[in-house]
C-alpha cells in the first residue's frame, strides 16, 4: 500500500503541480484547499484506517479560513504524523512558531520538487522517532557518532566533546536532516528557562564546528538556517 500524503494548499496551480509530482513518485495524495477541508479529510481518513489518518502532511501557512497552527495542534494531540510546513518568505515568524509547536520541517516558496521530495523522505524516516529514538548511530563522511555509548570519532580518532557539546550534537542527530529550532535546542539541551539565550547556542555551535568541521565558516555538516535553527545533514544510505 502506498504512503498517503495530505496536501493542504489553497493555490490551485501549485496544488495540482505538487500532486502530480508526488503521484509520479508513488504517493497517494489527498488535497485540501482550506483548513476546514483539511480537518474533514483527516477525520474521514482516520475513521477509515483506524490508525493515523495519513503518513505525512504538507501544510501551507496562508490559508483562507484560518491558521495552519490549528490543524497542527489538532493533529499533534493524537498522532506523530510528520508535518512539513510550506511558507512564503514573509511569514518567517509563523513558520518558526509552527516548528516549535511540533512541525517537523519547513520549505520556503518557491522550492523545487527535488527539495520537497528529499524533505518528505527525511520526514517519513523519522516517523515515530519521538516515541522511541530510532537513530542511535550516525555516520557522514569520516564522522561517526554513537548516541548509545556517547562516542564521537572523526576519521577513526576520538573527538573530545564537553557534555553540553555532546548533548547539543545528539539533539541534532536525533532529528538528522530536519531543522531543529533555536528554542527547541535551548529547551532540550539547557532547559526551558534558557529558550531566549541564543548566544549560548552560537558559542557551542562554533565550538562543535571547530572540532568537527574542516572550515568552520564553510560548514558541510552542521548547517545554519538563519532565523530558524540548525540542521545536521542527513546521513547517507
Amino acid at each position: 500500500m502506498s504512503l498517503r500524503v495530505l496536501l493542504v494548499e489553497d493555490d490551485r496551480e501549485l496544488c495540482r503541480t505538487l500532486k502530480d509530482a508526488m503521484t509520479a513518485e508513488g504517493y497517494d495524495v489527498f488535497t485540501a484547499a482550506s483548513l476546514s477541508e483539511g480537518f474533514a479529510l483527516l477525520t474521514g481518513l482516520g475513521a477509515r484506517s483506524g490508525g493515523p489518518p495519513v503518513d505525512l502532511v504538507l501544510l501551507d501557512l496562508g490559508l483562507p479560513d484560518g491558521d495552519g497552527e490549528q490543524l497542527l495542534c489538532a493533529l499533534r494531540q493524537k498522532h506523530t504524523v510528520p508535518v512539513i510546513v510550506i511558507s512564503a518568505r514573509e511569514s518567517d515568524g509563523q513558520k518558526v512558531r509552527l516548528l516549535d509547536a511540533g512541525a517537523d520541517d519547513y520549505l520556503v516558496k518557491p522550492f523545487s520538487i527535488r527539495e520537497l521530495l528529499a524533505r518528505m523522505r527525511v520526514g517519513l524516516r523519522h516517523r515515530g522517532t519521538s516515541v522511541s529514538p530510532a537513530v542511535t548511530r550516525y555516520a557522514v563522511g569520516a564522522l561517526n557518532i554513537d548516541l548509545g555509548t556517547r562516542e564521537v570519532t572523526l576519521a577513526g580518532q576520538p573527538v573530545h566533546l564537553t557534555p553540553t557539546e555532546f548533548n547539543l550534537l545528539a539533539r541534532l542527530v536525533r532529528s538528522a536532516g530536519q531543522v531543529v529550532t533555536h528554542r527547541q535546542l535551548l529547551a532540550d539541551v539547557w532547559g526551558a528557562e534558557f529558550t531566549e539565550h541564543t548566544h549560548y547556542l552560537r558559542l557551542y555551535m562554533a565550538q562543535l564546528r571547530g572540532k568537527l568541521e574542516e572550515n568552520p565558516a564553510d560548514p558541510q555538516l552542521l548547517m545554519n538556517e538563519p532565523g530558524v535553527g540548525y540542521r545536521i545533514i542527513e546521513p547517507q544510505g
Binding site: 518568505r89 566533546l161 557534555p163 555532546f166 549560548y200 572550515n215 568552520p216
Partner: protein, 562 residues
C-alpha cells in the same frame, strides 16, 4: 514715566491726570496684574473723579479773583478775555455738558458782577451786549473744540493701546511652543481688555468639531454650562452674549476663535460682572484678539495640510518610480520563462534533449531570479516603512557567512565561491534573515557580474571596532562615477568597465539598494571599494558590540567524554 512706543511723544503734552492714568494702564499691562486698563472705559465709569473738578474750581477761583480784584484797574475787554481763558482751561478737565453749563453760568455772573450796570442782568451799552454774547459763543466753541479734541485723543489712545495689545499678543503667540501656551497668551490679553479671567476651549483640529473631550483642550477650567456654551459657539462660529445681538441675557460673553468666516478653532468665554455694560469697542477688541489666535491656528493647519499633501505627492512619485523600476525588472525573466515554456510546449518534439534541458534550466534560473527580486522588493518596502522592527539576536559571523555560501552554492556550478572568517570573531547583533539576504544578494551579484573562473570570496574580519563582511570579485569593476549610484534603486545602466556579460544588462538596482538598506537598518553601512588588482569589494561594516556572557552552569551534568 515709562515710555511706550508710538505714544510717549505726545504723552508729555497731556494733562497730568491723563498721564497718571496712562502710567497706571501701562503698569497694569506690563506687570500683568489683573486690573482694568482703562480710565475712560465705560465698563468702569469711576474715574472722572474729584480732581478734575478741583482743578477746574481752582481755575475759576483764580479767574474770578483776578476779575473782581482788578475790576477797577482793568477794562471790560480784559475781564472778558480772562473769562474766556478760564473757561477754556476749565474745559480741559470738565466733561462737555458740565463745561458748557459752567461757562454759561460764568458769563451770566460776568454780566451780573462786571458789566455795567453791576448787580443787574441788563446791559448799559449796546456794544457790551454784543461782547457778552460773543464771550458766551466763544467760550462754548472753545469748550466744544476741547471736548472734541479730548474724545479724539482718547480714541487715538485706545486704538494705539489696542494695536499695541494685538502686537504683543502676536509676539506671545509666535513665541509660544504649544497650543496651550498660545491659549494662555490669549487669556492674558483678554484679562487686560475685560478685567476678568477668560476661559478657553481649544480644538486640536478644526474639522466639524464633535462635542468630544478628546478633540479639544480647555484652559481655565470652564464649568459644565460654560463648556456647552463654548462648544455651541465653536459650532456656530458666532459670538453671543451681551452686546453681540445674540442671547444678550447670558451672564458671560462667548467669542469664537475664528480662523475663517465659518471655521472656529476654539472659543473663549468671558464672564461679566453684574451690571457690567459691554461697549462695541471692547467687544471688537476682544473678538479681534480671539481671531488672532484663530487665524494663527488656521494658518498652521493650512500649512500642515499643504506639507502633508506635498509629502504624499512625493511619496507617490517615489512609489511610482519604484514600481516602474520593479516591473521592468520583472518583465525580463518573465519573458525568458514564457519563451522557454512555450517553446517546450509547441516544439518539444522537435527539440533535441540538450535543447530541452537548456530551456528547462533557463526556466528554473529565471524563476530563481524572480523569487530573489520579490524577496528584495518586499524587504525594501518593509525597511522603508516607518518604525520597522528588526528581529535582532546574537549571531555568529561564521554561521552567517556559512549559511549565505551554502545557499549561493546551489547556483554556483563552477564552485567559484570561497569563504574565510578570521578565527575568534565576536558575536554580532543582527537580524539573521535580513543579514543573510544581504550576503546572498551580494554574492549573487558578484557571481553575475564577474566571469568564470575568477573566484568570488566572502571574507569576514575584524577591523578596529567593526566586523567587516566583504564580498570580493575579480570582475571588471565599477566605473568611479557609478560607485555611489549603483546603490540607488532606480539607477540602471552598464557601469562596468568593458565587459560583455549579458546578465549585467539587467539593473542590479533593487538588489544593491536593499543591501544598503539592510546594512543601515543595523546601524552599519555598505560600501563599494575597488580592489587594487581589479574587481570590486562590497563591504558591510557592523559595529562590534559586547555580547552577553555564557555561564557553564546552564549545562546539565551529563556523563561522556570531556
Amino acid at each position: 514715566m515709562i515710555p511706550l512706543p508710538g505714544i510717549d511723544a505726545s504723552a508729555d503734552f497731556w494733562p497730568a491726570h491723563l498721564q497718571r492714568a496712562w502710567r497706571a494702564i501701562h503698569e497694569a499691562a506690563t506687570s500683568g496684574t489683573v486690573a482694568p486698563m482703562t480710565d475712560d472705559d465705560p465698563l468702569s465709569p469711576r474715574r472722572p473723579a474729584r480732581w478734575p473738578w478741583a482743578w477746574a474750581g481752582v481755575v475759576w477761583a483764580v479767574a474770578w479773583l483776578l476779575m473782581l480784584g482788578l475790576d477797577r484797574h482793568i477794562g471790560l475787554a480784559q475781564a472778558a478775555i480772562t473769562l474766556v481763558l478760564a473757561s477754556a482751561l476749565a474745559a480741559i478737565w470738565l466733561p462737555l455738558v458740565s463745561s458748557l453749563l459752567t461757562t454759561t453760568a460764568a458769563v451770566l455772573a460776568f454780566d451780573w458782577f462786571i458789566v455795567p450796570p453791576k448787580h443787574s442782568f441788563s446791559v448799559e451799552l449796546s456794544e457790551d451786549v454784543l461782547l457778552v454774547i460773543e464771550i458766551l459763543i466763544l467760550s462754548w466753541v472753545v469748550t466744544a473744540l476741547l471736548a472734541r479734541g479730548r474724545v479724539l485723543a482718547a480714541r487715538a489712545r485706545r486704538s494705539a493701546r489696542h494695536a499695541d495689545q494685538m502686537r504683543r499678543l502676536g509676539d506671545a503667540l509666535r513665541d509660544a511652543e504649544d497650543p496651550l501656551q498660545r491659549g494662555q497668551a490669549l487669556r492674558e490679553a483678554l484679562v487686560e481688555v475685560m478685567g476678568q479671567p477668560a476661559r478657553l476651549l481649544l480644538l486640536r483640529d478644526a474639522t466639524t468639531p464633535p462635542a468630544d473631550e478628546a478633540a479639544a483642550s480647555t484652559l481655565g477650567d470652564p464649568g459644565a454650562d460654560e463648556l456647552v456654551g463654548l462648544w455651541h459657539c465653536v459650532r456656530l462660529c458666532r459670538a453671543f452674549g451681551p452686546g453681540t445681538g445674540h442671547e444678550p441675557e447670558l451672564p458671560a460673553l462667548y467669542l469664537p476663535l475664528r480662523g475663517t468666516e465659518t471655521a472656529a478653532y476654539g472659543a473663549a468665554v468671558l464672564p461679566l460682572g453684574p451690571g457690567a455694560v459691554i461697549t462695541e469697542d471692547v467687544l471688537v477688541q476682544a473678538q479681534a484678539l480671539c481671531d488672532q489666535l484663530g487665524q494663527l491656528l488656521h494658518r498652521a493647519r493650512t500649512q500642515r495640510d499643504a506639507e502633508s499633501a506635498n509629502a504624499l505627492a512625493q511619496a507617490q512619485a517615489v512609489r511610482n518610480a519604484l514600481l516602474a523600476a520593479i516591473s521592468h525588472d520583472y518583465r525580463t525573466p518573465l519573458a525568458a520563462i514564457l519563451g522557454a515554456a512555450s517553446s517546450l510546449r509547441d516544439q518539444g518534439a522537435k527539440l533535441a534533449p540538450e535543447q530541452r534541458e537548456r530551456l528547462t534550466q533557463s526556466i528554473m534560473a529565471e524563476t530563481r531570479q524572480l523569487s530573489r527580486l520579490t524577496d528584495n522588493t518586499l524587504q525594501l518596502v518593509r525597511l522603508d516603512a516607518p518604525g520597522v522592527k528588526l528581529n535582532l539576536d546574537w549571531e555568529s559571523p561564521d554561521e552567517l557567512a556559512g549559511a549565505a555560501i551554502e545557499r549561493a552554492r546551489r547556483h554556483d556550478p563552477e564552485r567559484r565561491l570561497k569563504v574565510w572568517a578570521e578565527p575568534g570573531l565576536p558575536l554580532v547583533r543582527c537580524d539573521a534573515v535580513l543579514f543573510s539576504q544581504m550576503l546572498e544578494n551580494l554574492i549573487d551579484n558578484a557571481l553575475k557580474y564577474s566571469d568564470a573562473p575568477a573566484p568570488v570570496e566572502l571574507h569576514v574580519r575584524r577591523h578596529g571596532e567593526h566586523i567587516v563582511f566583504a564580498v570580493r570579485d575579480s570582475g571588471p569593476g565599477v566605473e568611479p562615477a557609478w560607485r555611489e549610484r549603483i546603490f540607488e534603486v532606480f539607477q540602471r545602466g552598464d557601469w562596468r568597465t568593458g565587459s560583455h556579460n549579458t546578465a549585467a544588462q539587467r539593473g542590479a538596482g533593487v538588489g544593491l539598494a536593499v543591501c544598503r538598506a539592510i546594512a543601515r537598518a543595523h546601524g552599519g553601512d555598505l560600501q563599494l571599494r575597488p580592489r587594487s588588482q581589479g574587481g570590486s569589494s562590497f563591504e558591510c561594516w557592523l559595529r562590534e558590540e559586547e555580547a552577553p556572557r555564557v555561564e557553564e552552569r546552564g549545562a546539565p551534568a551529563a556523563g561522556g567524554p570531556a
